[in-house]
Structures are given as C-alpha cells and as structure tokens.
Amino acid sequence: MKYIISLSLLTFFLSSAMIQKNTITKPQPSVYQPDSGKIIYETYCLACHQEDGSGVPNMNPPLIKTDWVLGDSTRLINVILKGLKNTEINGDSYSNEMPSHDFLTDYQIAEVLTYVRKSFGNQAGPISSEDVKKQRAKK
C-alpha cells in the first residue's frame, strides 16, 4: 500500500515535472557561487564519480588523491578535453569510459578541475582558464 501511494505520488511528481521542463532540481549546497566548479561538478561529473568523489567500484574511478587529480595539470586537463578509456587508475581497472567534455568552456573546465583538486580531501593547486586554453589549442 505504501508502495502504491509513493508510486502515485512519484508519477504525479514526474508528470508535473514533465510539464514544467527545465526545472533541474539539485541538492542545494549550503554556500555556492553560481557557475562555480561545484555546480559544474554536480551537473556533469557527479553521476559517475559520486558526490564525495569516491566513484563506483569497478566502474568509475575515485577522484580522491589519484595521481591523475593531484599530478601533472596538462594530463588532467586532457582527461576532460579528450576523455579516457581502458587505463588503470592506481592499480584498478574500470569498465566505463570517461567521455570527452570538450563542450565545456575553458573557464568551466578550469573551475571544475580546481574544485576537484580542492575537494574530497585533495589539496593541489588551481587550474586556470589559460592552462585549459593552451591545451585545447594543441589538439
């Protein structure tokens, strides 16, 4: 019975949500700036790498203190621009593929990577739009 109620509530909710498209509801972070790295992360990365950056076992790698996140910034920028596939991350392999996110602007990529480098226990320097621009030009 409870199931039926929640199901119908859900259907109601879904259909009303369908009518007013564009209502992208997200867990509201306590403090954020519009268009900040955190918002970009939630929109494009969270599904695979999870809210706490811990990833999904065997499927999507964690973004917690990996060489890729903390290490060479050009390599990191290239993961976002070009994607990544069939690469071992800290000794484990992952079945999914990291899609290219080159549709994001230089600024958005810089913001999201800076956010990743400063979250989930990571402490590494920021990435600038200039850095991203340089890498994109090399393609």
Binding site: L10, T11, F13, L14, S15, A17, M18, K21, N22, T23, I24, T25, K26, P27, T43, Y44, L46, A47, C48, Q50, E51, D52, S54, G55, V56, P57, N58, M59, N60, P62, G83, K85, N86, S93, Y94, S95, N96, E97, P99, S100, H101, F103
Partner: protein, 425 residues
C-alpha cells in the same frame, strides 16, 4: 546445570561427527547464523555465511554434490574461480581452492560439464565423479572482441544442447561519441551487428567464433542476469537500462526524472525478439517504449518503438539486475516454485535521489511463464546501512545466485566475495 549443558553439547558434537562421516550433505543439519549473516529475510527463512570473502565475486554455480564455484572479476593468487567445499556438512566452507587462471562472470553446470566464461571466450571442463577436471579444458567459444563496458559474458544452457552467451553493447546509447553530451545517436546503430543481444552456440562444438553462433535476440543494451527456464523451455533475462538522460539532455529530463527512467526490464527472450535498444527505452510510468532523445525523442513520442518487444515486468531505474534464477527446488514454500529470484546489484546514478537496489527480489510466476504478482523484497540489508548514498559505502552488493540440490540457494557479493546460503526451516 553447567555440566548438563556441557554433556549435551558433547553428545551433540559426537553425533554430528558420526553423521558427518557417513553422508555429509544429507544428514548434517544446516543452521542459520544468529544474525543471518547480516541480511534480512522473510519469516521462516534463515541465512548462514558460507565464506566471509573469496575476492571480487561474480556468478556462482553449485555442483550436484554441493561444491560451490565462484567466478571472480579479479585474479586471486593467479586463479579466476574459487571452489568452496563444505566437508562436515554444516554449510560453512572448510576448504577454498583456486581453479582456472582466467577471470570472468559466467558459469553454469550442465551436460556433464562445467562451463565458464572470460570476457573473450567460453571454456568447459568435463565433470568427473562430480568434479570438473581442470586438466581437460575445451574451448567452446573463442576469439571474442575484448571491451570493458558491458563486456562480461553471462551463460545459460538449454535442454537442446545450446549455449547462450550475452554480448553487451560497449556503449550507453550508441552515440557517435559514447556518453558525450551533444553527440548524435547512430542510425542504424552499427554496434547491433555484433553486440546488444544474446548469441546461441552449439554447447558441444569446440572453437566456435562469434560468427558461428546465431543472434538469438537483439536490441538489448546489457544483460548480466540470464537463465533458462526449464519449466517453460524459454530463455529469460534482465536488461540494464540506459544511463544519464539528464547529463545528456538536461533541457528535457531533470535529475529526478533521470533517476527514475528508464525501467530495468525483465525480458522473455523469444527467438528473434528485438527490444529496441538504442532507439528506445522503457518508461514504466507511461507503460511503454519511448523514442530515445538521441534519436529525436521528446520523452513521449514512440514512433518505431511502438513495434518493439515489451518487458514482462518493469523495475525502477538503475538498480542493476546482475543475476536471475528460476527456483526449481522443494525446500522453499510452494509459492516460490518456478518463480524468479533477481539480484539487484544496486545503483550508482540515481542522485539526487538515494541509491536503490542492493537487495534480492522474488517474482512469483504463473503457469503461463509470466509474473503472477508484484515483486517482493526477498533478502536485503547487504549494504549494511538503511540508505546508500555513494555505492562505495555499501559493505556488500548481491551479484550472483545459484540453487543447490537440496533446494537452498546461494548469493554472492561483489565487494568482498561474501557467500550466503539461504535455507527454509
């Protein structure tokens, strides 16, 4: 009093040894663990932990004499399958032996052989005196393309000497660039030629290539749970529906809609069926197949999807059904007979809603080979908490199912490789 207890337990111990000597499987009384190994079951059922962990477990098979074969996703001491033996009949594994040197998901015992798959082949071993002979492997299917996304091969045997092998699509929805926002869906989807379906092979012929097999069904993104239903003489499977409607089409699907769409589908795989992937996905709220947005869909349009084969049951999105097993035993109450057990490995992409799955469901079946009622939660509590926020927090995730000769069933876990045995008293 103390003495009396001691006396009784010594007698109990002695008698249990005695009976164990004669006929370990039949005589010894299985007893559920006090905490059912950390999981919750319906009244009358109990669970005992066979092993606390064999590695990164996948599917499981049990031989006639009760030996347990667990496939692994990662080699353990150079071995890809772990054999668990219970020598004293208390249900707990006393011996753990490595077998075969390749990892993979599929395993099935039948035809007097044990069949096991890697992601690029199927190998079988003759059963000699109830155990597979590791020194006589025969390669049945070989040279399959290796790919990581949906690349595991689940197996089933029918009663006409056919072997069924799943070929998941190395893709989410057949976009020109996989999972990339703005990338178009390919028409026709070239992936379907060699993937996105189940292929049928001769179960006894060596060294078959994929081209020697027959594409039995198509239009399926990924299957991990696959089983031959002996009573119906038909193949059934669980499909993993597509991901990321909102990351790819934020203007059409909000995060909640993307968390609840599409359905995870329970499929009856009649020869020649086409379930519509990648062009279509199933929406359980509208109760039909909908045209994918990558192919011009708007969340409502059906077009070519109207003619595609439908699921026999639709489950909430992203629960990841990783094992399917029809119950044919006599230990469980009558309603379970010929019904289906399903392991929902658990979701990762239902944010901002909480994750779902992480339990074993039961679906009662009618004589017509269709579900006769809604699904029930059979075993839950694997994740160790009331709610899973990030999949990495889950202590255990159910991934494999097998039935033993006495009618009890086994469940494997993919995190540590814990193995439970479920009994009914």
């Amino acid at each position: 009093m103390k003495n009396l207890i001691l006396f009784v337990s010594i007698i109990a111990l002695l008698t249990s040894f005695k009976s164990a000597d004669k006929n370990p499987i039949k005589k010894a009384k299985l007893k559920a663990d006090a905490d059912n190994g950390g999981i919750t079951l319906p009244k009358g059922f109990g669970a005992l932990v066979v092993s606390e962990g064999v590695g990164k477990a996948r599917h499981i098979a049990v031989s006639e004499k009760g030996d347990i074969y667990v496939r692994l996703a990662k080699l353990k001491d150079g071995k890809g399958t772990i054999i668990l033996k219970d020598n004293n009949g208390d249900g707990k594994a006393d011996e753990s032996i490595g077998f075969g040197s390749f990892v993979g998901t599929g395993i099935v015992i039948g035809n007097n052989y044990l069949y096991a798959s890697s992601d690029s082949s199927v190998v079988r071993y003759p059963m000699v005196k109830g155990s597979p002979d590791e020194s006589k492997p025969e390669t049945i299917v070989t040279g399959l393309e290796l790919y990581s996304e949906h690349g595991t091969k689940s197996l089933a045997l029918d009663d006409k000497n056919h072997l069924y092998v799943t070929f998941g699509a190395p893709s989410n929805v057949c976009q020109e660039k996989n999972r990339m926002k703005g990338s178009k869906g390919m028409t026709p989807c070239p992936i379907l030629e060699w993937h996105g379906g189940v292929w049928q092979f001769d179960a006894n012929k060596k060294n078959q290539k994929q081209a020697d097999g027959f594409r039995y069904v198509t239009g399926i993104r990924n299957i991990v749970g696959l089983d031959w239903n002996k009573q119906q003489g038909e193949l059934y499977a669980m499909q993993h529906g597509r991901d990321q409607l909102t990351t790819l089409f934020p203007e059409m699907y909000n995060a909640e809609q993307s968390a609840e769409l599409p359905s995870e589908e329970f499929l009856l795989l009649k020869k020649g069926s086409d379930f519509g992937w990648p062009y279509c996905y199933h929406d359980r709220f509208q109760g039909k197949k909908i045209l994918s947005p990558e192919y011009g869909g708007d969340g409502k349009k059906q077009e070519i999807c109207e003619g595609k084969d439908k699921p026999i049951m639709a489950f909430p999105a992203h629960w990841a059904p990783n094992a399917l097993m029809f119950y044919t035993g006599d230990m469980f109450p009558a309603k379970y007979k010929n019904g289906a057990f399903i392991c929902f490995h658990g979701s990762w992409n239902r944010a901002p809603l909480k994750q779902g799955g992480y339990f074993v469901a039961f679906v009662p079946f009618g004589k017509d080979g269709k579900p006769s009622g809604d699904y029930e939660v059979f075993a839950e509590g694997f994740s160790g908490g009331t709610e899973v926020k990030n999949p990495n927090d889950a202590k255990a995730r159910p991934v494999g199912l097998a039935q033993s000769a006495d009618g009890s069933i086994y469940i494997t876990d993919s995190v540590k490789g814990k193995v439970w045995r479920i009994i009914h008293q």
